[in-house]
């Protein structure tokens, strides 16, 4: 009974703070409303005894929001992020995409024939099981996905970066030390 109440409360927190993301007028509030939403989901995962995934969700999402705050001033030239601003744009297509995604995922969750549990509850080490699944049968998938993800991140940064290596090392890349607005600790 108690766990149902806690779970429902967390679900409400997750949804309400998710809605808040689009209702507030400040990037900081939107960012941390999203973080609250994810933390609530992480705690719900903990309630399923998925300790590792639950804690790592909280860790990654909170860190992600902080990184977003870095990108906010790193790549948004005129710093609108520091002023009050609307958190919505392109409303019609956003609504269509959101509804479509929700129906797809919710329909999937309801309609997919879920496999029966193979081990008994509470006896297995789920962290170990997850590790074995990732490093064993799903290893090929992980090996394919991770370079693609990594390449995407690097490509996005290269595209967004206002100063490339030619700005830093000169047209022939032959400067002895790079010309940086901020010197790094090692002069690399």
């Amino acid at each position: 009974m108690l766990s149902i109440i806690i779970f429902s409360a967390l679900a409400i927190v997750a949804v309400v703070s998710g809605i808040a993301v689009f209702r507030v007028d400040s990037m900081a509030r939107a960012t941390y409303a999203l973080a609250v939403s994810f933390v609530a989901v992480g705690v719900m995962l903990l309630m399923f005894d998925l300790d590792y995934i639950g804690v790592i969700t909280i860790l990654m999402m909170v860190m992600e929001m902080a990184i977003m705050a870095i990108y906010m001033i790193m790549f948004m030239g005129m710093n609108p992020a520091l002023m009050p601003m609307s958190m919505v744009h392109n409303n019609r297509w956003s609504a269509i995409l959101a509804t479509g995604t929700f129906l797809l995922l919710a329909g999937g969750a309801v309609l997919v024939p879920w496999p029966a549990r193979s081990g008994s509850v509470g006896t297995e080490d789920l962290t170990m099981a997850l590790g074995e699944a990732l490093m064993g049968s799903k290893m090929l998938v992980m090996l394919t996905v991770s370079p693609i993800l990594f390449a995407t991140i690097v490509a996005a940064l290269v595209l967004a970066n206002p100063r490339g290596r030619y700005d830093r090392w000169g047209d022939n890349l032959q400067r002895a030390t790079p010309d940086d607005p901020q010197q790094g600790g090692l002069g690399k």
């Binding site: 900081a28 590792y52 804690v55 860790l59 705050a69 870095i70 080490d125 962290t127």
Partner: protein
């Protein structure tokens, strides 16, 4: 008292003890500061208590158009985070929540500090505070990965993420002996996530106190106390991960845990006073080009030793 009963008493005792250790750290820092200024050390060690009284009575100052909600959340968060960290730290035989992923829990909580300090900087609607918040994020982006590998290394050696099992794995040999780099990186990271000593540039004088510029009264008290509490939990976790936990001759485990924690905390405070501030923009390259590879080598060496030993 039975073991079970004692463990329940520990729930109430742990926050009190955390407060006491944090206060001891503050008193030591006060004494050192007083001695450096040529005043009697004893008057300096009483300073933190006087400061508590002063800040409790001080009126809150509020800036124009401050984001009060986020500012308050950021200000109180450090102390809450320190308490949540305490949950997974074994104190002798007692531990609040010996969860299977205690180590990851500690890591998740120290990532929460990123959010807390940035919110402190953001909420005040002050340029100095915001600069302080961003200084911390820049610093965090440098120390976090080496810190994560420093945490991973004892877990690899103990083959467990459960903190009590990591402590048990050190009964024959403390981890600090064969993973000194991880130990040093962890200690430096504790100073960094507590925004302390050389890593306190987020709150340093050159930007008028940074994140602390506009906070006053009880908000300031919570932040200053939170930093000491984070240092204290960091010291206690270093004891559990690298210094054998409660292992020691003759005396009970809790006693050794307490002594080691206080000793590590004292070293943190004494040593930090010897260093000047480390600029986050300088730290970034050093941490990524030197710190991270050395840390990865340490993890690799430990992994090989563990694999060969079987």
């Amino acid at each position: 008292m039975t073991g079970e009963g004692m463990n329940q008493a520990w729930v109430l005792l742990a926050p009190v003890l955390l407060g006491a250790i944090a206060l001891a750290g503050a008193a030591l820092n006060g004494a050192l500061a007083a001695r450096a200024e040529g005043r009697p050390a004893l008057s300096g060690s009483a300073r933190p208590m006087l400061e508590v009284v002063r800040l409790m009575r001080q009126r809150r100052r509020v800036t124009v158009a401050a984001d009060r909600l986020l500012w308050r959340i950021g200000g109180m968060a450090l102390l809450v985070i320190a308490l949540l960290k305490t949950a997974v730290i074994p104190f002798g035989p007692w531990i609040l929540a010996d969860i299977p992923v205690g180590l990851v829990w500690f890591n998740a909580m120290d990532v929460m500090v990123w959010a807390a300090i940035w919110l402190m900087g953001w909420g005040a609607n002050s340029a100095h505070a915001l600069a302080g918040g961003y200084r911390f994020l820049a610093q965090a982006a440098s120390y976090e990965l080496p810190l994560m590998f420093a945490l991973v290394t004892p877990a690899v050696a103990a083959q467990s993420l459960r903190v009590s099992e990591i402590v048990d794995a050190q009964q024959s040999l403390w981890f600090v002996v064969w993973m000194p780099v991880a130990f040093l990186v962890f200690c430096a990271s504790v100073l960094a996530f507590s925004a302390w000593g050389p890593f306190a540039t987020a709150a340093s004088g050159d930007i008028a106190g940074g994140i602390l510029t506009e906070v006053s009264g009880v908000d300031r008290l919570l932040i200053l106390a939170g930093r000491y509490a984070l240092l204290a939990t960091g010291a206690a976790f270093a004891v559990a991960l690298f210094l054998g936990g409660g292992a020691g001759p003759l005396l009970p485990e809790w006693f050794w845990t307490l002594v080691k924690t206080l000793a590590v905390l004292a070293v943190f405070i004494v040593v930090s006073r010897r260093f000047s501030g480390v600029r986050p923009d300088r730290l970034a390259e050093v941490a990524w080009v030197i710190g991270l590879p050395i840390m990865l080598l340490q993890t690799l060496v430990v992994s090989i030793i563990v694999a060969v030993r079987g």
